[in-house]
Every structure is written in C-alpha cells, then in structure tokens.
Amino acid sequence: MIFAQCITSFIAAAGFGILFNAPRKALIQCGLVGMFGWLLYYILVAEGIDVVPATVFAAMLVAVLSHVCAKLYRTPIIIFNVSGIIPLVPGGIAYDAMRNFVENDYFHAVQLSAKVMLLAGSIAIGLMFSEVVNQLFRKSWDWLKP
C-alpha cells in the first residue's frame, strides 16, 4: 500500500510541476520532494497523529528538501516547494466544503472550511519554519565568526 502511495504522490507532484510550467530538468526533483513530504504525512497520520501537526511536519520536510535542491541545482526555491507541497494542500477538503455550502449543509461546510484554513496555515508555518532555521544558522554563524 505504501508503495502505491509513493508512486502516486510522485506522479502528482511531478504532474503539477508540468501544469505549473516548471523547468524540465527540475521535474524529477519536484516529484521526489513531493513524494517524501507526502510519505511523512501519510506515515504520521497512520500512526494516529492529527492531520494538522502532521501537515506542519511534512511541510517542514518539504521546505528543508527544497532548500537542499535549490542550493544543489542553483534554481529559486519556489520551484521545488510549490510542487512539493501540492500533495499536502487541502484542495480536496476545500472542494468538499464548497460542495456542502452549495448543497445547503452549512453545519459541515463551516467545519470543513475551518479545517482548510488550519491546514493552509500549517503548511505556511512549516515552510516558514525552515526559513527561520536557515536564518538562525546563518546569523549565528556570522555572529560566532571572529
């Protein structure tokens, strides 16, 4: 089962790379970043952790991997993290919420919308966290250096 998740998340992230017109040579890395992020999320959720913290951790992993790829291949980081977070993005829940709104089921619709906001926020926190760590390292290095 986890093998199927590997393949499908790779295809999803790399496919979105094509839809977003990512550079050709970055497509495989985009797919790999997305795959590892999704795998961490999937394993954490399977272990019984709530989806919101699981998304934060997965987004952190995506951000760190994107940093590594951006340094290695000398391309802006946005290329890797945009395709990488795609499997984590709550598009399915956003759609579900809107369908409930349109079908007059406001009770579930508002619940799902709140979930979408939380998940989007946790992805943003995860991505920003790695930037914070990066700055922290750089600044403390400058400070420690004689």
Partner: protein, 247 residues
Amino acid sequence: MDERRVISNVCMLAGKIMLESGAETYRVEDTMNRMAAAFQLTEAESYATPTGINFSTDSEEASHFRRISKRSTDLHKIAEVNSISRQIVAEGLDPREALLLLKGVSSSKEQYPPWLLIIAAALVSGSFAIMFGGQWEDFLPAFLAGGVGFTAMIGFEKLIEMRFFAEFFASFVIGVLAVCCLHFSIGINLDKIIIGAVMPLVPGLHITNAVRDLMAGHLVAGVSKGVEAMLTAFAIGAGVAVVFAFI
C-alpha cells in the same frame, strides 16, 4: 530615455512578470528593491498587490503604476526573472540589456505542448484519487474525467472571457463524466473520483500563498488572493453540485 526611466521600467517589468506568474507579493517587492539597490537607487520603494504594482525611484520622482489583470502559475518565468535579477546584483548587468532579457522572458511561450498538459492533468487526477483513499478501480475514471475536465477548462477559458465560468463548466463536465462512469460500473467511490478529477482545477496553491502573504504582513495581498481562491473553489463546488441535483 534617461537612465532612471530605464531602471524603473526594468523593475516594473520584472515585478509584473513575477506577479502574473504567481509569485508571492513579498518576494516580488524584495526582488524589485534589490534590483533598484543594485542600480544605486537606494531610496526606491515598491508596493505590490495581486492586481497592481506601484514603484517610485525616489520620493521626489513621479511614481509608476502597472495593472495586473491575468494571473496564473508559471514557475519557468519566475526562475528566469530570478536569474536575471541575480545577474544584475552580482555581475552588474546593464539596465538596457536587462530590459531586453526581461522582454524576452515576458513574451516566451510555454515549454510544454497542450497535449502534455492534458496528460499530466489526467495522471494527477488518477493519482489523487488513490492518495485520498480510493481503490485502483477508481484510477481509470478519475484519469478520464480529470483529462476531459482539464481540456474543457482550457477550451472554455478561450471561449468565455468571464472568470470562474471556465472552472464551473469544467467541474460540471467532470461531475457528469464521473456519474456516467459509475453508471457503467467503472470505478467504485464517486466522491474519490470527483475529488481526484477536480484537483488540477482547485486553487490549493493560492490558498497556501494567501496565508504566506498574510503571515509576511501583506494583508491586502493575502486577503485578495484568499478571496480569489475561495471564489474559484466555490465555482468548482457549484459545478459539481449541479450534477448532484439531477441524480
């Protein structure tokens, strides 16, 4: 043209390309300010929103304004603008040469042909159906519905100028196809098939970008991007709901 005009044109064009390609607003402002600083304009100020950019080289000079009307996601253009801005900062590229390079980027075509985009969208749809907990039997109907739905969206975007209608009709087509597939007993879970198939249309990235802009302190940009994403999601939900109303 005098030097300042050229420099502000370079910064404005770079900002415009980045905003039209879906970069976060704080990144756009940062790039514009860095480029201006590299041209020895340390007093330059920029203010970007998803619908327009303001830029002034100095408080005594006239400020420039550009309207942004079309927005999509194009990572290739963002990467190109980024490398040009790096050349300006690190290698001291001439502003006139930079303007020429940026004009080239602005008019460059997409690097993938439409059929490849459609196949990618179809594969993405099938994969998401599995990732959201569908069975392997759901892959084929989601693949079909996603591919046809994405094609429908590209077609409707060319035919109808109105925003959100392309998404509405595309998700309507997806709903009809998914119900048809289930009727001929291809696939098991209707919900998973539809969610997978609408994923290429759903503005998931915009929702996340909106939150990132809000956290970076760009309140106007964050709120307006969030509203745009919400309206798109609403159009998609409505398109599918029309199908559900009939079955």
